[in-house]
Symmetry: C2
C-alpha cells in the first residue's frame, strides 16, 4: 500500500510516519519508484504499536526505541522485558533513608511475605513501594500494610490473568502484545481507581463545580 | 531557623530551596538582616509537600504550582481538587472513534453500572478507560469487562479507605495531605501490580537475566 493508505489504516498523519521513517523506528518500505515506496501489514502493526506506546502509555521516542529493541531481542527473557517496560514508565525513586524508610521496608517485607511473592530485595517495584510508604509516614499519613492486602490480592489475580494471554514461547509479535497489555492494564487500573474516587468523593463531599 | 537548618530538616539542598523561593513556590522567610531570613515549620511542611509532588509523583513545577493553588483555593470542592490532581498526572487521551471505541464505551458503561458508580459520561478517568480498552481491542487483545470487575471492587474499597482519612471540612493542610495520599496510593497500587507481575512472570517464564 502507499503511505496515504498506511496513514489511514494506522490513524497516523503522513508527516508523523515520515518522521518515524527518518528516525528508523519504522523500517523503510519497498521502493516502487524514485519518490514512492510500498508498505505492508507489518508496517500497519508496527505503527499501531508505536502509537499505543507514545499516545496511550505516554512514552518518549527514546523509550519506545529501547522497548522495541528489547522486544526484538529474543535472548532477553520476558521477566527482563517487563523490567525494561517498567523502567520506561516509572520515575526512578532514589533510595532515601531515615527511620520512616526503615519502618516502610519492614512493612513491605511483611506484605511480600503474606502474599508469598518471591522478589529480589532490590526489585524496582519493591523499592518504589518502600519509598511511597516512607513518604506517607513522613507526611504523617501512616497506613498499616494490612490496609493494602486485599488490594495486593486483587492485583495478584489480575496479573495472573494478564499473563495467561502470553504463550509459553512467544514470538516477537506476542512479546510486543504482552508489553502493551501490561502497560494498558496499568493505565486501566489507575483509571478504575480514579472512577471509584470520583464517585465516592462526590457522594461524600459534593460535586466538583466551584460555587 | 536558618536556611541551612531548613535544608537539613526537609532533606532538600539549599540551592533548590533558593530556586523555589525565586519561583515563589515557597513563601519568603522573615528577614533577619540584609542577607538572611528565618524560616518556620510551615516552610518545612511546604518543602516536604513540594518534594513529594516532584520527586515521588513526578510532577513538573507548573503542575505543582497549579495543584498548590487548587489546594489553597478554599472555594474549590474536594472533587474539583482531585480533578486538578488527576489532570496533573494523567496523559490527556484524545477521543478516538471507530467500532473499537464504541464497543469499549459499552463495556465501560456496563462496568460502571455493575459497580453502582455515579459518574459523568465525560469524566476523564472514564474516557481514559474507554481509550485503553479500545487500544487493547485494536491490538487484538480483547478483554471481557468481567475480567476487571474483582479489581474494580478492590479499588472501590481502597478508595473508600483513602477517603476515610479526610475530615468533613478539611483545612488547607488536610487538603494537601488528601492530594498527596491520593497520588501516593496510585503509585503504591501500580508498584504492587508490578511486584505481583515480577513474581509470576519469573515463576512461569524464568528469571530476568539474559542467557
Amino acid at each position: 500500500m502507499r503511505i496515504s493508505e498506511l496513514s489511514r489504516r494506522a490513524g497516523t498523519p503522513v508527516g508523523t510516519i515520515k518522521f518515524y521513517l527518518r528516525e528508523r523506528l519504522l523500517p523503510p518500505g519497498r521502493p516502487t519508484n524514485r519518490n514512492q515506496a510500498s508498505y505492508g501489514e507489518a508496517h500497519v502493526n508496527r505503527l499501531r504499536l508505536i502509537r499505543t506506546l507514545t499516545v496511550m502509555a505516554g512514552l518518549d521516542l527514546s523509550s519506545v526505541r529501547l522497548l522495541l529493541s528489547a522486544i526484538e531481542n529474543g535472548r532477553l527473557p520476558l521477566a527482563g522485558l517487563y523490567r525494561v517496560m517498567e523502567a520506561a514508565v516509572a520515575a526512578d525513586h532514589r533510595c532515601t533513608g531515615g527511620p520512616e524508610a526503615d519502618a516502610a521496608r519492614t512493612d513491605v517485607d511483611a506484605l511480600v511475605d503474606r502474599m508469598g511473592w518471591s522478589l529480589d530485595q532490590d526489585a524496582v517495584s519493591r523499592r518504589q513501594l518502600v519509598e511511597v510508604l516512607a513518604a506517607l509516614k513522613r507526611l504523617g499519613s501512616t497506613c498499616e500494610v494490612d490496609f493494602f492486602l486485599p488490594y495486593a490480592a486483587a492485583a495478584d489475580d489480575l496479573v495472573q490473568g494478564e499473563l495467561d494471554f502470553v504463550p509459553a514461547a512467544p514470538t516477537n509479535g506476542e512479546r510486543a502484545a504482552a508489553v502493551v497489555r501490561g502497560l494498558m492494564f496499568e493505565v486501566a487500573l489507575t483509571a478504575m481507581g480514579r472512577m471509584a474516587r470520583e464517585h465516592h468523593v462526590t457522594r461524600r463531599f459534593g460535586p466538583a463545580a466551584e460555587d
